[in-house]
Symmetry: C2
């Protein structure tokens, strides 16, 4: 990660999916989901994104229109002829937190082999959404010289594909994960020791998401702690992590800097974006979100920390 | 609570106890404990305290010397002839958090009838430690015109003595409680709704402690969120809540102000004091703590929030 990464677009590799959701606020069938969808729509308020993902022929055109309307570049979205789109069904309990997965249909995602279009290969900012770390490695191998590589993953890969994940981590600048994942990956219960353990695997910067408690930024220059946005009514936390990453990366892309001070503001931007994601099912709230609304909430969030 | 409460001493009513502790860091038998002990020693770095509590004749003189050495006024400490001191035995698991109570011997605490010495009755700042709310009411009835009444309680009283607790809450300015207690008392799962529910019971200011996640200050003028002090090695969290209150109240006593801005700094002082309490068994760390150490950690805590 160079001190100055003058970029204004982000390449995202992840999933585009059909989610069926049950939360205390209601339920939805086969709505737009997937890490690349949340990330690209969230980041669209800050910069342009190029999506590399796969869907089946059954994927509703109207959902692609939602992404295109936000200026998302879909040249890297592979549509598998006769294929079925990745589907996920999940349920959240009264306290929200982690979803209970009721059903996963990998479908065309099972054979996904990410191919980075030639004119994407000089991408300077890359977000590796939560997919098999072996695929994440394949993506990294196709890029020429990315300035900033950010990573998301999950317990499933930490436990099941540890070696491949470690190979990815050695090539990652910014790792965004939650507390449970940090503890699992490091084997440390204390969160500060866990963060140190995660940084020892390669990433120079680690952001630990703590849900309703906010987020922590671990950087060689110091520690920054962000509160969460006070939300009285959560509707659906699906995609909040990817949307957090979209605000964080989007802010960095817009700022053209990745120093500690800029990263702090980027974490706040991520926190604000994630809060909006939780206020509607699927991408509903994100699709209508304006820069002015983000700015207002960012100011409100900063006021919570003002001594 | 008046805008300006020019006070420099605090009356505390609570327990002075003998604690036996098991934590992942080790164990101790019959060490100095109790809410009034933690509170008065913690607050001694900021102001003078007067303790109203009860012990048995078996209470070790050396523990009283510890309190006296910190300038704590013990005129209101009743020593019951032939009586045995309140004892508590608790165990903390790997993640710390709430202790598992292994044994409680109320002993002379069972018949405790707090009597406020005549020259304490014009106390302007009062901390009602976690005791039976019926006793807390008796204390309030003996005071002439306190400017700031702060309260601690626990699940046991919220569930078992709801009516008496509500009568206390109607006369309290500042209520310090943890998330679980706020949810239990309000019946609300969402913490912002829970805080509103708690404030509706009377307290103008509510501070919700969140352990390793810090604390939140709910005030008519706004919300303030404090991170926790990053602790890599917790030894014993017993008394952290009372020590938090001691820093908060001590700071207010020293400042002579109780407005929102002063309360924010007071919450930070409480957070810092609580962190020291966790670094040793019993009051070990607090008894050697200096103002300079508190000041250093306060600066470090504020730096975590600096954007």
């Amino acid at each position: 990660m160079s001190a100055q990464a003058k970029t204004n677009s982000i390449l995202v590799v992840g999933s585009v999916a059909l989610d069926s959701l049950e939360t205390p606020a209601g339920h939805r069938e086969e709505c737009l989901g997937g890490s690349a969808s949340y990330f690209s729509v969230g980041a669209s308020l800050f910069t342009q994104t190029q999506v590399v993902a796969v869907v089946g022929e059954d994927f509703p055109e109207v959902y692609l229109d939602h992404l295109r309307a936000k200026g998302v570049n879909l040249e890297g979205l592979e549509v598998v002829k006769g294929g079925r789109t990745f589907r996920w069904r999940g349920r959240y309990g009264e306290h929200f937190g982690d979803a209970q997965t009721l059903e996963t249909q990998l479908n065309c995602f099972e054979t996904f082999d990410p191919k980075i279009p030639a004119h994407y290969r000089d991408a300077r900012m890359l977000f590796l959404g939560n997919i098999d770390p072996e695929l994440q490695l394949k993506v990294l191998d196709q890029l020429e010289n990315p300035h900033l590589v950010a990573l998301d993953t999950m317990n499933f890969w930490i436990t099941g594909k540890r070696k491949a994940l470690e190979a990815v981590l050695a090539r990652v600048d910014l790792f965004i994960l939650n507390e449970t994942e940090a503890r699992l990956l490091s084997g440390e219960k204390n969160i500060y020791k866990a963060a140190a353990g995660v940084m020892a695997l390669g990433p120079k910067v680690v952001v630990i998401k703590r849900g309703e408690y906010g987020a922590m930024l671990f950087h060689p220059d110091g520690l920054f702690v962000s509160p969460a946005v006070p939300l009285r009514d959560v509707v659906d936390p699906t995609g909040a992590g990817d949307t957090f990453a979209s605000g964080l990366m989007g802010y960095l892309a817009q700022a053209g800097e990745v120093d500690f001070t800029t990263l702090k503001s980027a974490v706040l931007a991520g926190t604000v974006m994630a809060s909006f994601a939780c206020e509607g099912f699927s991408l509903d709230r994100l699709l209508t979100l304006t820069k002015a609304e983000v700015g207002q909430r960012l100011a409100a969030l900063e006021s919570l920390m003002k001594v």
